[in-house]
Amino acid sequence: MGADPLNCVWLDTREDRTDRVVLTAFEDHWNKERGPRLEKVIFRNDISPAEALDLVCTTEGQIDLVTEVAPADAEKVQNSEYAKLEVIDSMRILLGLINRGAEDAPLHDKRARKALNLAVDRARLVSEAFNGYAHQSAGVIPAYAGGYPGNEPYPHDPGEAKRLLQEAGWPEGRPLRLATTTSTEGVARMLEGDLRESLGIDVEVMVVPDEGLLAAQHALVEKVMALPFDVLLHAWIDLSADAPPAFMHHYLYSEGGPFRTGPPVAEFDRLMGQFAKETDAERQSALSAEIDRFVYDEVLSLFLVAPQALYAVNKNVNFVAHATTLELAETYVTEEHWSRKNGS
């Protein structure tokens, strides 16, 4: 038993979800100002997200809230008679993990990594791949999170990108290997064009099939076999917005970081060591900024975007979106909501 605003009647921890998970209000919760304001929340796992989106947009009384709405579906929600679109700046990033340990490509060289960053048109990426529902990245920390150092995104500068790549000694005829999962294949296809045109080299897109995802993840985390890509599109999150290096940078670049792609970086690990032992919030925030500035200056990743989180919500539901979680304590329904009219 917990003590938060809602009771959990049953939660299955297996990979396969139960058809429904029902949460009921815990009226003795200590934080009366927050809630709970709903009597019941029913998670429906028995229908697909696409079907759910159709239902929230075209009906009432079926589905009230759909998370993870794709930017391409935003307009459908906005044009709906029954639903509205909620958008929040979230603690999510999408970047390219650069294989600094590639044996036959000079990605250990900062100039080559910077060339990749200068080759990408982030403004177009935001407007076309995300329909505007993302922010351009300038490092790992989003501009709205703690410790943001105030960097500007790398500009789109194909001329300088090409020059730097040649200067770093990119081998003649060697294609750039860009890997992606199926969920970010659209972004990869857009990047493929940018990289090919800006750098003047061929780009091979490698799509990890869904059934091969687990094996690919193992290979990335275990680091026993040589990584087969030059750049891997990678989405990551944080559980809070206060001190991103503890979760974001640590996982991406630390010596023990599961997503580190290349040899450990001694200066980075020194800074993280300081960060981990700093208990003063102001000094820790300054260290966060220093760490993010370092990974930006050393161009340890192909920095892309911070996607926003999109929700389709029934018009009679006042949903409070959160940057790091799906919190429902503050959410309430109006008197016009189907459940109140029906007495459900």
């Binding site: 038993m1 917990g2 799906l326 007495g343």
Partner: protein
Amino acid sequence: MAQATRQASAEGGKHTPVGTIHVVDPNALNWLFITWNTMEEPVRTTPDGRLVGAAMEESRWINETTLEVVLRRGITFQDGEQFDVRSFKRAFYEVQRWRAPHPPGTSLNFHPDTRLEVIDDYTVRMIFPEPDGAILGKFRGFHLASTRFWDEIGFGYKKLGTGEGHW
């Protein structure tokens, strides 16, 4: 047949819960979101993601390696048990049993040599072998529960025999 409906109200900051919503959440972290909606932690996050006290009212560093945590009074678990320092202590010993209890990874672990010193029913000190600047973030994954939860369910203990990867 018409039914009487409960009216929403917010007297004295208390809201009477009304209504039902149906949610479809394909996010892979749905299990974590449900945990956060139903369990208590020392901290929670505001809509913009900033950490604020929840079951913990405040904390302060007594010295480089000792964090004093003042727990909130007046918290009741869903089964009626009162929350106090015993709840914090039980959760601490439950999580410290495992090498990798948190699905997101061991960066959420407390140092294995961390000790607790109980000051009173609502004050506890955490004594670390070295300073831990990430402790407040780790509190986000430190789930506090009643005795019955640990005795009867735990994080997969009864069903799976282990809490590794299930906290």
